[in-house]
């Protein structure tokens, strides 16, 4: 697969989904360093022996959509949220990831100012990270926030969003299967009438 990634065949490639690819460390680093993936805007990695840390140093990648499922995130999570390859991300999906360490720092340092959709369903978020997320002054374009099944998303998260002037473009938030209560959701709906709260 690395031969393909580094070949002229992918010069015009805009979207690449990779599932169950047994990358070696060297192969994955070579993939991320490919000089021919400059047109790639969507990268989806499912159950690949790869680590998102490889994306941090990628020089030619300019992604707009990144989907990581059963792919290791870097120990320094902030590096992913400040990586040049990710600076133009519109959609980021980290479903089922363990972000129980470093999520607060990553959200505070995030340079993902173009983000329109953030999907964190069934993700283990560091306690307090969700509150930082919903009060971030940088997420001015975020329209859709998926927090379904996140155990640390609570009424405190919803109340933080209700009291925040940030996330002005937010249209819908998903909070099912979290400790959030119906009362908390009602308070948020009252504070933000245009927001759909599920």
């Amino acid at each position: 697969m690395v031969r393909v990634a580094c070949s002229p065949a992918v010069r015009e490639l805009r979207s690449w989904s990779l599932s169950a690819i047994p990358f070696s460390r060297e192969e994955w680093e070579a993939f991320c360093a490919s000089p021919t993936l400059g047109s790639l805007r969507t990268l989806k990695l499912y159950d690949c022996a790869a680590t998102a840390a490889g994306l941090v140093g990628a020089r030619s990648l300019r992604l707009q959509e990144l989907d990581l499922w059963q792919v290791d995130v870097p120990d320094d999570l902030s590096s992913l949220f400040t990586a040049p390859a990710c600076a133009g991300l519109r959609k980021l999906r980290l479903i089922g990831q363990d972000l129980s360490r470093g999520a607060r720092d990553a959200f505070a340092a995030s340079q993902l100012t173009e983000l329109q959709e953030l999907e964190l369903t069934s993700t283990r978020l560091e306690r307090g990270a969700a509150e930082l997320l919903v009060t971030s002054p940088r997420l001015t374009k975020l329209e859709r926030l998926g927090l379904t099944g996140c155990p640390t998303v609570t009424d405190a998260t919803l109340d933080s969003l209700a009291a925040s002037e940030h996330l002005p473009a937010l249209e819908v938030i998903f909070t099912a299967q979290t400790p959030c209560t119906d009362a908390g959701r009602e308070r948020l709906r009252a504070a933000r009438p245009g927001l759909s709260v599920y």
Binding site: M1, V4, S7, P8, A9, V10, L13, W16, S17, S19
Partner: protein, 45 residues
């Protein structure tokens, strides 16, 4: 794989399932489908 690619030179999207294209496949992709925009690879080495 080369024969298939030759049959569809204007291919825009391609899925490879459990197929290792290797060097020959990469060369064939570049030569036969220069405008490829979407690629899905599953269980492919």
């Amino acid at each position: 794989m080369v024969a298939v690619l030759e049959a569809f030179p204007r291919l825009k999207a391609l899925t490879l399932d459990a197929l290792n294209p290797g060097a020959a496949g990469a060369a064939a992709l570049a030569a036969r489908v220069p405008g490829l925009e979407e690629l899905s690879t599953w269980r492919s080495g």
